[in-house]
Assembly symmetry: C3
Homo-oligomer: 348 residues x 3
């Protein structure tokens, strides 16, 4: 979210982030924009060929693009290997995050045995229970809740309305958006005769450094051992991570995905939205899973995996989906036909 | 939610909303009920043929129904073109919403540079940051949070525990339910060498008039331009709308659906629950999508679309689902059989 | 969540919960652990054959296991019929839940016409509206909200940030986790000419005894009659239950599942995660539904049901999924081949 926007010349950007400047290096930009909606003080980026026509008509002052596209634009431009990542850095420069304003709001309830670093910011109506610790530069948003013995690292930011249950640990420079619930009880129930018996969830959640957790995402505490989110993991909104899941470093997961208990996900995986992963499954490093896929078995090889029934106009879908129920029978009929053909051939 | 229920005669209802009264027009009703559970002071409606038997045995004082069913009941009744919409209006009349009680609760934290209309109501523990504006007749529920420069229109109602991030704009007469988070950062990350770099999300969210947003729904702010929800859109609970999505006016979306970044949805669409729509897809006006469908390509024609694997008893499903993995091979075997038949025929 | 852990001998456990002790019955355990990570003061359990190797190498002081596995371990052990349920009870004994600390926090806003039992605990920034009732031993977590005339039973626990809309009723010994929203308006809208008309949601939600509701789960109030969750139901996180759903006693539902309006689910059902159940469907008792299944029709027989497209490596999936669109045509081609074979046979 932007504060007052400073301005930088293309030369200054090159000095900070590298790349090659083509055109007027003294040209200054003060904000980012899309190719389509840019005004004359803005810098845009080009990374998706689908928007080539916007590149050619953009009113942006300057554009960031890759070597392949260096001649596809006429405006001043920065050519670099990874335009999207370059743009991310320029945008962060032009849109500095509001800094921490140290101090505890008068209305916040901080237990006398909690330790809040004097460089931390605690918003109105926040509750910090006994034994909790908040590091230097951290921000605890309005109406957030830190249970007993929770630890929040340095420069970590909790937006308004985040809940962290007792004994969970959050690393440094991590961002947690509103409505996220970290450390609620895992869904541990044992069926006994005629009713469910609750299995106490005595583990916690450990979240690493440089993690981002989206709005209304839930991460349950472990049943016995801890649920673990390693460094650099990026979680979108409304993701559910069940007890004792382990997510490897730098894995990114899109919104609405549900991960069942004791799943182990490798490093550098990319998982789409609305994916379901069944309990106890193990997923290797560098696995990519398309949105809406149901993963019911372990994946041992890096690579891309998919599984979603393709959509169709309703009438076609009804006819094709009806045949799904006859697939096993169709396979048998085909085999029988092959036999019949063989016999006819041998007779003729 | 109902307050004290007034009573109206069928004649009065006809004067307000039209339709034809059959039977005693002076009969008064004071509350709505289902056909099945109605008591003698209640008015019910009949719109779904599945409940015909309940129509014939209802103890309701009166019933609202369509022209086709005018003779299917013997109780006093109102015949109209759209019984469900008619019922909605009668129910709103009999169950007036609790009015706004103007004033700011003593515990609320309103920044001195925020502007709250004196006709607005702000509940306990609400936080309203610098530069935010709240219109006449609006209600900001308990423990809700309005970030810097947020604007909330007239007669808009936020229930308890709604979070609106900085600079988002909400129109008039819009309703937002508890736990909804509007304007959290979109999931913008660029992979660079060995880690993800955050792309600042500098757009906002603009929500129109007469919108309804369900509990725990999340709508992310735009990466650069804004995320837009047009007038009259109705969103159920636990929907995820990613950055830069555009939802056209009067579209309705059922619960748990996830819409990825930069999707553009037309006007008057009806989208079922647990639907996933992939990034950058465009959907025309008047499209209907069945629940649980994964939409991976743009839909250019109005109409109904579906895509969900039909469920079956476990054993049958296991046999049929196994064949899904051989579909491409089955298609080849069928083609080979057709060739063989052709050859045999030409030989015989 | 654990407090200070007491210690018990295996003999004491047998006296409380039955079973047979093999080995040193005076051996004392003070905490639970997994087989894999247990230390010498811990008791673990063995129920899943997948972890047999951990059973054989565990450093646990004692293990709980079933009759089949009585000789698969050498450490002191308790043999019983249902090791997981036995373990649940032992864990509850060793990890007593923090007791209720009666009293209303100074910052809580309790309406003078609300009735909070003096044995109940109300946390900071909680809001309790007019006519609400809170029973003996109940805990209302920080920043939770109870609307008008809400009733919360005895020994029921709401964690921080739970929202209950007006007139909903929660039974005894029920647990509701953070971010859950009970009683928001159902998604009732009637289309009229060119816009949606809201159907007032005048029912409420009734939740029984011994229910557990996960973080960020939403249960909507009924349109006319109530939404009902019977005794002993267990709901995981981020579940959506629409208006007028009825969930039978002792049914358990995993995370992210969405249940549309007026669905009726039987008793003792087990429903997986990310399942979608279409409106007005009825499901018998003792039905089990696999994760990710879309249920579009009623299920009248107890048993297990599934429906998810199996996932595959991307290339194979693309080829097979393409054929899904030709299934109806494939069925016709197979029938034509069968006819052709019959004719060829009769000719030869």
């Amino acid at each position: 979210m932007s504060g007052a926007a400073p301005a930088y010349s293309l030369r200054e950007l090159r000095e900070r982030y590298g790349g090659e400047v083509i055109g007027d290096a003294d040209l200054r930009v003060s904000r980012v924009a899309t190719l389509e909606n840019a005004g004359p003080d803005a810098i845009a980026f080009f990374a998706n060929p689908r928007y080539l026509r916007h590149l050619q008509t953009t009113r942006a002052a300057a554009v960031i693009l890759g070597p392949d596209a260096r001649d596809a634009a006429t405006v001043p431009r920065i050519v670099c290997e990874n335009p999207y990542a370059y743009f991310a850095r320029v945008s962060a420069l032009l849109n500095p995050v509001r800094g921490t304003e140290p101090g505890v709001h008068a209305t916040a309830q901080v237990h006398p045995e909690a330790r809040v670093h004097r460089g931390a910011e605690v918003g109105p109506f926040a509750v910090i229970e006994r034994g909790a610790q908040v590091g230097d530069g951290a921000v605890i948003g309005a109406s957030s809740y830190l249970g007993e013995a929770v630890r929040v690292g340095e420069d970590t930011r909790l937006y308004a309305g985040v809940t962290i249950y007792a004994r969970c640990v959050i690393g440094d420079r991590t961002v947690i958006h509103s409505g996220a619930v970290i450390g609620a009880d895992g869904f541990g129930i044992a069926f006994d005769r005629d009713r469910w018996v609750k299995v106490p969830q005595v583990g916690a959640v450990r979240i690493g450094n440089d993690v981002e957790i989206g709005a209304n995402t839930t991460i349950d505490r472990g049943a016995i051992d801890d649920t673990v989110i390693e460094d650099g993991v990026k979680l979108d909104n409304q993701i559910q991570i069940a007890h004792n899941v382990h997510v490897g470093a730098h894995t990114a997961i899109a919104a609405c995905t549900g991960i069942a208990g004791s799943v182990r996900i490798g490093r550098y995986c990319r998982i789409g939205g609305l994916v379901g992963i069944a309990g106890h499954v193990e997923i290797a490093d560098n696995v990519e899973i398309s949105g809406h896929t149901g993963v019911t078995r372990s994946i041992e090889q890096a690579g891309a995996y998919s599984g979603v029934y393709p959509f169709e106009p309703n009438r076609a879908w009804r006819q094709n989906a009806a045949q799904v129920r006859h697939l096993a029978q169709m396979a048998k009929r085909i085999a029988a036909l092959e036999d019949a053909i063989d016999r006819l051939r041998s007779e003729s």
